[in-house]
Subunit: 464 residues, 2 copies
């Protein structure tokens, strides 16, 4: 036999990260190695301090070196440092690495390194998106996303939900809710004389929402959720929109009150906010942020329960102060961004669920209320942000669904599969969608969703 077998035992395979090291009690007898990138170097007469980061925590590790060892260190270079972890003598950190051996693995010319120490503009960093991940605030955002994802999985698992992967390429454009991206026809094999044709048997789009697909799942395995990329080919440039974004969508059966859906939304967001791993990175991200907004986030975490009002009640509130708005609040018209913010910022001073919008404002699938005018839905509005979540009960009554499809000018044949879900063992059900980057922005005070996703996509620009 020509092949060989190697030993494989360790319960943890890779060397500890800086975060894992800092969680241990330091033992000055143990020689250990740390790898990472140099974030700053502070030279004193007899000793040099260097901050080394491997991305595992916001602070990195303070390394203490002799000036001889340290003279090759520059910001951005990659290193392997070998030494002993000890209690720090200085302020600002509990532990530090007394370095015996310093190896520069990859140099970084400080004269031309694009990520200089001074504050770099948001636009400049977007243009250097492949390197901006090395900036502390962007790295903190990545870890906040990680904590939020962990908390989402944790919450939904506890509540008996199954995570499912919904398709990205789809034949339907959901609610017709916005511009959709379409796939180009595809060439046949190289050398073929045939012109490119549709790859599938009909036009294919990128999904704008997984909801309709999730409804099929919910009629089979009751409680499902997905955190999935979604796409909108929207040319307008705002600080709340991306062409490619991630959406948390949950859907479950045997729920018949909008308030029960709001309960899950509220619980799950609080569960995310309470993730213990967030603290250090939120400190980094809020350090330059608006103290009042930060306070609002902290208060929302403790507020029980979040306020709820109907659309009709909301419009009455807005009418009281209609001179404050550019657009007059009128029952039957959509709430504008200024209205939404007023409700959250001024009326409630916290998150607010606005429920039971007029049916003319909402997509065909929302469940009709008995009043014949409104549907059983809600938007969750957050202070300083506006809409974070939208959800509803879905129409499970076949006759009313048929009417709604007709009423919205949709082709009944396109929705025959959707109708089947109700025909064969249908049940009251509902769910919601939460814009993941908006949540990250609200939690962290980051102004623009382009800084809430590692590699953002928007009209007119495509890097990497």
């Amino acid at each position: 036999m020509l092949f060989c077998r190697f030993a494989s035992t360790a319960s943890r395979r890779l060397r500890p990260t800086i975060s894992q090291l800092l969680a241990q009690e330091p033992d000055p007898q143990v020689i250990l190695s740390v790898t990472g990138h140099i974030k700053s170097v502070r030279k004193q007469k007899r000793v040099t301090f260097a901050a080394v980061s491997d991305g595992s925590c916001p602070d990195g590790l303070q390394a203490v070196l002799s000036p001889d060892d340290a003279h090759t260190l520059t910001n951005g270079c990659s290193v392997r440092l070998t030494g002993r972890l000890v209690q720090s003598q200085g302020k600002g950190q509990a532990k530090e690495l007394q370095v015996d051996k310093c190896e520069v693995i990859g140099t970084c010319d400080p004269e031309i390194y694009p990520i200089q120490k001074q504050v770099l503009s948001t636009e400049y960093l977007r243009d250097h998106v492949h390197l901006r991940l090395r900036v502390d605030s962007i790295a903190s955002m990545l870890r906040v996303r990680q904590c939020a994802v962990d908390a989402i999985h944790d919450y939904f698992r506890r509540e008996g939900f199954t995570h499912v992967h919904t398709p990205i390429i789809t034949g339907n454009d959901c609610e017709g809710a916005g511009e959709t991206f379409r796939l180009s026809p595809v060439a046949h094999r190289a050398g073929s004389s045939l012109p490119p044709t549709e790859f599938f048997d009909r036009t294919a789009y990128l999904t704008v929402s997984s909801q309709l697909h999730l409804e099929a799942f919910a009629h089979a395995i009751s409680r499902v959720y997905t955190l999935s990329p979604c796409f909108r080919a929207e040319r307008s440039q705002t600080n709340r929109h991306l062409s490619e974004f991630w959406m948390l969508e949950a859907e479950w059966g045997f729920v018949d009150r909008v308030g029960d859906i709001c309960d899950i939304v509220e619980d799950s967001i609080k569960h995310i906010l309470n993730h213990p791993g967030l603290v250090g990175d939120l400190d980094v991200l809020w350090s330059n942020g608006d103290a009042e907004r930060k306070q609002g986030v902290l208060e929302a975490k403790g507020m029980t329960p979040w306020a709820r009002m109907s659309y009709t009640e909301a419009v009455k509130e807005l009418e009281k102060v209609k001179s404050k708005f550019e657009s007059e609040p009128i029952w039957g018209k959509p709430l504008k961004s200024e209205h939404e913010r007023w409700l959250a910022d001024q009326v409630v001073k916290g998150p607010v669920f606005v429920t039971d919008y007029p049916s003319v404002l909402k997509p065909f699938y929302m469940r009709a209320n008995d009043d014949g005018k409104t549907v059983a839905c809600f938007d969750l509005l957050m202070p300083h942000l506006g809409e974070l979540v939208g959800g509803s009960l879905r129409e499970e009554r076949v006759d009313l669904l048929d009417k709604a499809i007709e009423h919205h000018g949709l082709n009944k044949r396109d929705y025959s599969w959707y109708r089947d879900l109700r025909m064969y063992g249908g049940a009251p059900h509902g769910g919601y969608g939460l814009g993941f980057e908006r949540l990250i922005g609200w939690m962290t005070g980051i102004e623009n969703v382009r800084e809430c996703i590692p590699i953002p996509r928007w009209a007119g620009k495509l890097l990497l």
Copy 2:
């Protein structure tokens, strides 16, 4: 104030699922309700047994009803059953629900229900993809995916990796590794006389691999992974290919031996196989499968470590039995599927890492070995499947990378960002990609990857 606040206390918000109920000690004093779909009804003279499922576990729950209560029950209808959970008197289940009240929530006409009890063909179920999720084997596959996802997150978190969301829409086509989907130009606003134009500033593709992007992350936060949708516009129809599939990709810095990458691959797959939640669903899925293949999966779990051989050694093994193959094994030519399977099925009788392929066979980014002929890479070949994982060290030496880009006929300008990663604090690094549906197929014995994903996509067909 018009809005009101509701109480919100429960540590678990929704009623327990069947899986959660079955994990408790039954208390016949407690009246409880279960919701779900009826999977089968067995009528006896004095009593009716019904299997009710909410998708939370493979077996569902046995409900015991009076014939009067049960007469409206049909396969596929949705129900709410209220009663007491007791130790079962019968065989086949430990607990059962003694039903006091049976409510049919949504009827299901047994005459026309497309999901009849008899065995339905794979093709028929693909044509009814919105309903096939109700079939036991598909539901089991969904839960197996869930367990695998959980195990992946658990493993990588332990090893200090950060989960990142990589972009789906991209300007590069990675290794030029296959046909890529392209986005169509997008219309301007309704009413505009402008013709549709590229939405971004250049042609946009759907990603075929997140690897190059992950390398940018690994140069900032060291250890990263993603479980992301990937796309190939490949018209050929095999049981191992989908147009839209999920890929686990991991990338990390400061690794300089291919064997160290193989260690992580092997550990992580074993971690998935050892997930305790898999047992019941694997029993369902293997019940009609090939016993020998199942045995192979079980043995791989315990085999330590998995075999490793170089490509050169592999070709020598194949040359010994070259009369067995349609294509002659020749050094410098790709291994064909028949070769890969021979190595795993016959030579090793288990998983095997084949390493150090000739550089002419592999993409530009793989790290050159000192022999000048091969690159530091591997494929993991599984019995009965062939390639499951591919990975490598990446070329971190700028001069050698430049040569490789030129050698592969690529445009250096397109990769300037990728080159920057090496220019500014580069480090040895590597990673791999694992086809998630192939893993599910190998673990479960499911023949075709179209049954390893809830809503499959392939050339010529687009449902839902």
